[in-house]
């Protein structure tokens, strides 16, 4: 099982508790987590299903290498952390 956590910057817009899901890749796990919290989906993915440009996904503390497909492998016990990139002023 994979734990998916949304950072406080996202929780400010949509409350979404950490959840535990299945999945072999970061994208599979993320999509399952978003299925459980549909209001969060549009904050993380655009309307084409792509990861928003200023959102970053970490898998076990490392930034996902594949931002396009989020194909980074996850295993039982992995944690996915979804954060906002730091930008703007």
């Amino acid at each position: 099982m994979v734990r998916v956590v949304f950072a406080p910057a996202l929780q400010r817009h949509v409350a979404c508790e950490p959840c535990t899901v299945d999945g072999a890749s970061a994208m599979q796990a993320l999509l399952q987590a978003l299925d459980g919290c549909p209001a969060m989906r549009g904050y993380v993915l655009d309307d084409q299903g792509n990861l928003r440009r200023h959102v970053a996904v970490f898998v076990d503390g490392a930034m996902a290498r594949d931002r396009v497909c989020l194909s980074d492998a996850v295993t039982s016990g992995s944690e996915i952390y979804v954060v906002q990139a730091l930008s703007g002023g």
């Binding site: 817009h13 549009g42 904050y43 655009d46 309307d47 928003r52 200023h54 930008s87 703007g88």
Partner: protein, 359 residues
């Protein structure tokens, strides 16, 4: 007909509400810290709509019903799945919002970046892309002006016939439909784009109208503040005539008097490459004779070393034609209640202002 009693101000860091009976002070703040790209007060039912552009998390739309204090989340326009390789064709920004006609309650129109026009039949709960316009082959010629992608910033619903829409695109010209959006045609004859190669300068689909407004009492009169000057049409947009203002014809915003189609206001800047007031003096220009002459209005506006720019949605006129509100990129908000002869600064310290609406 009474003067407007409320101003909604969409800024880079929130939505601000000012009321006449509170001395035109900021009485309420909403979405503090969030960029508000557009605000619209539906004249049919007094519902307020606020479009947010969350830097990290995309475009959102919220609605506040008349008399309510709480906002509720609406749906947002969603682009259909794009063909492989069509990068960037997802919703970037809700740039314009307008109410449908009085006989179609709940109908809204939204102009977006990257160039899609959307319609809602249910007060923003759901949206549908206008496919006939999106499918026009000329759309491939549109390009961004100030943004990476083209966008629809002006939507005029003909008060005589709600099926007649006129929209303006930066950069993609003026387009019209007379059947509610099934068929569209570009209507830019007379416009001239001097930023293009010579052979393309009269091409309708590369024109950059910064803002277009329609006179409610004379809908055949339309005004455009174009990237290359000011244009007026008196035949519903079929032909456009250029007029020349002093001290400059460059700017973004335009407002037309609701009852006097020959009367309009503009906020000039030096030119494309230098978007500051001419001689550092922030002024409004007004014509009462269709652009044959312009008066320079500055009473109550900063006299010198003023570098305010008014974006295309930063100027609004109320239904009397006497009250105008104007907000600038440096966060100053002004009001006139005599058509521009005298201005009053309501605040000099708001965040950069994107949109100002009476209602």
């Amino acid at each position: 007909m009474a003067n407007a009693d409320r101003i909604m101000v969409g800024t880079r860091k929130g939505l601000f509400e000012l009321r006449r009976n509170e001395g035109w002070r900021v009485t309420t703040r909403h979405f503090l810290g969030e960029p508000v790209s557009m605000v619209m007060v539906d004249p049919r039912d007094d519902t307020v709509y606020a479009a947010l552009n969350l830097g990290h998390f995309g475009a959102k739309l919220w609605r506040r019903e008349s008399g309510a204090s709480e906002w509720s989340a609406c749906g947002v326009p969603v682009y259909p799945p794009q063909p492989e390789g069509e990068h960037g064709k997802s919703l970037q920004l809700i740039w314009s919002l307008e109410a449908g006609g009085p006989e179609e309650p709940g109908v809204l129109w939204a102009g977006t970046i990257p160039g899609g026009l959307f319609r809602s039949n249910d007060k923003g709960e759901s949206w549908a892309l206008n496919v006939p316009l999106w499918a026009r082959p000329e759309r491939a010629e549109w390009f961004g002006g100030g943004y990476d992608q083209p966008g629809i910033h002006s939507i005029c619903v003909d008060p005589r016939d709600s099926r007649h829409l006129s929209i303006a695109v930066s950069c993609g010209g003026v387009w019209q439909t007379h059947d509610g959006g099934n068929e569209w045609a570009p209507t830019c004859q007379g416009m001239y784009a001097d930023y293009m190669p010579p052979e393309r300068r009269e091409d309708p689909v590369v024109q950059d109208p910064h803002r277009m407004v329609q006179c409610p009492s004379d809908p055949d009169t339309l005004w455009v503040q174009h990237h290359c000057g000011i244009y007026r049409s008196i035949d519903g947009g079929a032909r456009w005539m250029r007029v020349f203002a002093q001290p400059s014809s460059f700017g973004f915003a335009v407002a037309v008097h609701p009852h006097l189609p020959d009367t309009t206001w503009f906020v000039p800047s030096v030119k494309d490459e230098c978007r500051v007031p001419v001689d550092d003096r922030f002024v409004v220009t007004r014509t009462d004779d269709s652009g044959a002459s312009f008066a320079t209005l500055s009473n109550g506006l900063p006299e010198g070393h003023a570098y305010d720019l008014v974006y295309r949605h930063g100027l609004d006129v109320d239904e009397t034609g006497e009250c105008l509100a104007m907000g600038s990129t440096t966060g100053a908000l002004w009001l006139t209640e005599d058509g521009g002869l005298h201005w009053r600064c309501l605040s000099a310290h708001l965040p950069p202002i994107y949109a100002v609406r009476f209602g």
